[in-house]
Amino acid sequence: MSSAPAPVALAEILARGDVWRGDALAGLSEAAIPSGHPELDAELPGGGWPRGNLTEFLVDRNGLGEMSLLLPALARLSGDGGWLALVAPPWQPHAPAWAAAGLAPERLVVVRAGRQVAWCLEQLLASGGFAGVLAWPEAGINARSLRRLQVAAEGRPVFAGLWRSTAAAVAPSPAPLRIALSAGADGLSVCILKRRGRPASQPLALEVARPGRNKRVVAGPVFSVVAAGSAAPAPAV
């Protein structure tokens, strides 16, 4: 005679991070990192950027404010003394701007990973010593590597962000949170493609920090001749 399984309350099951009701958002076992945008926090499971899970950011054009979206959360992590890592960024980080955003440059590690992005990322996630890891994997990163990365991140208090192109949106991914970013009419348009919970209905329009005076477009700068000694001085526009 088999003994009956111990009764488990439904509420207990729903309290787990990986089980959720279809009409609600999942909770998270680890405290999420507030994103600094209350309207975005309301749409993210756990109320912020998740720790211990991969988050994919799908973006095609750069310079939209995609990194500025993360800066409040990264500054919070850095302010708590955490290490941050940028793996294989396609450009060079400009330290004054990162420092001005509130990140400690001496704890911001830049890794030039070459063709070993996935390996580096796995080491960084599994080490447990980093609070945030952002990576720009090569286009060909496969689902198996992504699965390994997700397993490496699980249970670690690390915010793991992967930057991929929107072409990857159609391919399945083990990342529990996938977000497509594009330029909106006024600010950044954030479309949550996948999350633990009910599907998101419409993209969010978020205002992110932008340089200069946001609303006004300068008609055209007046330039003086820069290099007087050189030939063919450019005329003012």
């Binding site: 054009r61 450009w91 980080p93 911001l108 590690v109 030039r112």
Partner: protein, 470 residues
């Protein structure tokens, strides 16, 4: 088995001989019927392909010392019992490891990891433990009563007394040590001498038996001859395991942490080379040494096959005290420093760096790379804050932009968002190699119709894209 296992160049079916008799042989030889004590001619008759080596006491002593270093992780009090025994005083560290069986398991696992086979016993007296260990039965006699019972069952040949004494005892009809213990000691002393009787009393704990404690060397250097010439660097990692284990044990026993160590390779053409292992954070963890060693070896090209290894600890620091936590904490991973040092070992020293600020107006020069594992300076002086915005990303090289109707274009015409900011600096390193030189640029922020925010500048040559406001 130590006479055999201390030797390099081991292949299946080999044996060690001393004075014409087999002293120890490996399992392949045992299967063929060879046993310790056989004459050399008998053994060769049983196993024609048997490789017989002469015993090498110097190597055995060296191997025993390396093992003693390694065993420093279990207890600080240990003694060498040449030729082939090691005595670990574990009474004081039972609580730390959670009981004698746990220590025994850890010791056996460690020895197996270094490819040493072990006979062991636990007993309250050193001599008793040695005698019991020789039986190979793995006897745990942790109280005097159990020790006496276990000793009583040992045959008279077990203590390796001179042959004539064993023969004489057998002629008395005494087969095991229990028979001996029942006889009056005074009569026994007259018949077989004082030595064996005192030994018996020492083994039973009735006479004191002080041991000379092993002194851990003041500096660490352990060598190892390889069983065969190694041509691929990766294969050295396995051999390095014994050395790393000895180093970790030595560090534990001396309460030190290693910051840098060197693996010296001796090639078969007589040349030497060295692999420097530098730890980001001083450590004493064998696994960490090994992982680091593997990374270094994986991209090492050997000029010539290697025949011997030597590991030295170059820089050591005193270990700071730390309290163990009362409650179990979940495994936290190896931490940032260990991870970074591994990344650097694989990708190169320059591939991993942290950012630093440099007081320079030229954007190319405002960022410096720092060693992430170096001791942090006292909060580097903050540079001047810029009134104008600075982008998060800079392009490696400014990218020339086309111009259309007097406006720069980047995926379509750019709209200016800010007024221009003049940067004119750097006359001092004009013309130097690798220097940014004298710059005269007007920077401004611009936006294109796709919503991309760029940092562009104009100089005498035209418009350039230099950064992205991501």
């Amino acid at each position: 088995m130590l006479p055999l296992e201390a030797l390099p160049l081991r292949q299946p079916s080999s044996a060690v001989a001393a004075r014409g008799r087999i002293l120890a042989c490996d399992p392949a030889a045992v299967v063929a019927g060879v046993e310790p004590g056989h004459r050399l001619s008998t053994a060769l008759g049983l196993q024609p392909g048997l490789r017989v080596c002469e015993r090498d006491p110097a190597r055995e002593a060296k191997a025993l010392e390396n093992l003693a270093c390694w065993a420093g992780r279990f207890t600080p009090t240990l003694a060498l019992a040449p030729p082939d025994a090691l005595l670990l005083e574990i009474g004081g560290c039972l609580r730390l490891f959670g009981g004698a069986p746990a220590i025994v398991d850890a010791v056996l696992a460690g020895c197996a990891g270094q490819a040493y086979s072990v006979d062991w016993a636990v007993a309250p007296t050193p001599l008793g433990a040695r005698w019991l260990a020789r039986t190979g039965a793995g006897i745990m006699a942790d109280t005097p009563a159990r020790l006496h019972a276990a000793l009583a069952a040992l045959p008279c040949a077990a203590p390796s007394w001179p042959d004539e004494i064993v023969v004489r005892l057998e002629s008395f009809g005494l087969r095991c040590l229990g028979d001996l213990a029942r006889l009056p000691a005074a009569g026994l002393r007259r018949r077989i001498g004082n030595g064996p009787v005192d030994d018996l009393l020492r083994a039973r704990g009735e006479l004191p038996d002080p041991q000379r404690a092993f002194v851990f060397p003041a500096s660490f250097a352990a060598g190892l001859e390889l069983p065969s010439r190694v041509e691929h660097a990766e294969a050295l990692a396995f051999a390095g395991q014994r050395l790393c284990a000895a180093l970790a044990g030595w560090l534990h026993a001396r309460q030190l942490l290693a910051r840098a160590c060197t693996l010296h390779l001796t090639h078969d053409d007589g040349t030497h080379s060295a692999v420097n292992l530098r730890l980001g954070e001083p450590g004493a963890d064998e696994g960490r040494f090994l992982r680091l060693l593997r990374e270094h070896l994986s991209h090492l090209r050997l000029a010539a096959p290697v025949e011997a290894l030597r590991l030295t600890a170059d820089e050591v620091v005193a270990r700071p005290g730390a309290s163990a936590s009362l409650f179990d904490r979940p495994a936290a991973g190896e931490g940032a420093a260990a991870c970074l040092e591994r990344l650097r070992a694989r990708l190169g020293e320059n591939a991993v760096h942290t950012l630093g600020l440099r007081a320079d107006y030229r954007p190319e020069c405002a960022t410096s790379g720092h060693d992430p594992l170096a001791d942090l300076p006292e909060k580097s002086p903050s540079t001047a804050t810029f009134a104008a915005p600075r982008p998060l990303w800079l392009l490696r090289e400014p990218q020339a932009l086309a111009e259309q109707a007097g406006r720069p274009c980047w995926h379509g015409p750019l709209q200016f968002v800010t007024r221009s900011e003049r940067l004119e600096s750097g006359w001092w390193d004009e013309g130097e190699a690798e220097a940014a030189g004298d710059l005269r640029r007007d920077y401004c922020v611009a936006r294109n119709r796709y919503g991309q925010w760029a940092w562009i500048f104009r100089d005498a040559r035209g418009w350039f894209l230099h950064g992205l406001f991501a």
